[in-house]
Assembly symmetry: C2
Homo-oligomer: 213 residues x 2
Amino acid sequence: MSKSAAERRTRKRLVTRQTISDVATRLFFERGFDHVTIDEIAEAADVGRMTVFNHFPRKEDMFFDREQEMRDVAFAAIQTRDAGTSPIQALGALAHRLIEQPHPSYPLFGGTYLFVETALASESLKARARQMRDDFVRALADVLADAVNRPRDDPDAHLAASLIASVWSVAFTQAHELFGRKRDTNEASRIFLDLIDRGTVGIGAALAGTAYI
Amino acid sequence: MSKSAAERRTRKRLVTRQTISDVATRLFFERGFDHVTIDEIAEAADVGRMTVFNHFPRKEDMFFDREQEMRDVAFAAIQTRDAGTSPIQALGALAHRLIEQPHPSYPLFGGTYLFVETALASESLKARARQMRDDFVRALADVLADAVNRPRDDPDAHLAASLIASVWSVAFTQAHELFGRKRDTNEASRIFLDLIDRGTVGIGAALAGTAYI
DNA sequence: TACATAAATATACTGAGTATAGAAAGCAAG
DNA sequence: CTTGCTTTCTATACTCAGTATATTTATGTA
């Protein structure tokens, strides 16, 4: 049982991490991110205060615990696109696919409502979300440049990446707000795809003549 | 001398504020934002610690002390545009005007190099800059909607505002980086206007058929 | 059993930001 | 000029996130 034994420590570590994350998420949803202290989380999870920081360097990391997954879905769509499909087209197609058959790591509107509202209620969480978006844009610029064999500092790659993030961000925000007003997933999906499609057209025009379109 | 006398208190207050701002800015440039404490600023400005917070609720406010002015330049360009000129066109024209005859409140590249590098070296300052951008996008959406007599929650206004912020942000960042590499203001200006122009075309395509183009 | 390593923890610290009460300065009116 | 009102400034004491460091406890291996 050497393999299982060798992993017990790792398993226990992950259990501790998950416990902290679960307890913290529950408290954040109940009382709002800003009204929960690290001490309370440590107490509720029955661990020492330093253990919390050991697993989550920043308080916000307990809330945004799936950053990487969403990012990977987008990058995979670009990297595994069919020959003859441009990166921009591939991302537009991804949006439609996500609406038709939602990805488990990428839930939309109804499924994210409480999560998004909790995030929007906290300046710290909004700040962290903006930072994540920034990091995403940087990484996306690299992926785009690689995808069409251009240097990573190609200004067009950065323009494309930034515009894509804007379009997705506005589309999601508007769909979320519409869902909040009407509680209608279909209508939210419609405005989401409409904004994505019009944005995609715009990005195509801005990048016309380059390899990204 | 009643008028002058009645304003002495106000004048003194502004002097105190300016002193703090000047001292803080100097320290930030010398040693980096994150390596200057509020206590040091208070000490160097010869005021009490609470006086600093009295004038600048957040540490970052001592660095970004001209947010509003830049915002006003952009909004004025939209609101005072000629009849027959669309908001998007007016902002495109503003970019060219700023390059030809730089606005005192809106210096570009060379004039902002140290300022920008200092901001980029600090996570707190970058976070504040992102927040300012977010606020700007929200306000810009309102100005755009008002300018073409559309409701302020018009999704198109938000799409336009977000795309504009992206384009300007990328254009400025790329120009700044190019200036850092080559120390050539002309080349920086060229890439800035090129990205603005291509972005403007893209925004026009995304918003085709609306009143914003 | 003995040794090595990783995880958890205790303690003490830094620094931004808040709350509050009080001191000092400016100002108006008698 | 002094009395009383308002604004600005300041001192004190706090909260909370995050860091540094050393120590303990649990686990894995020889």
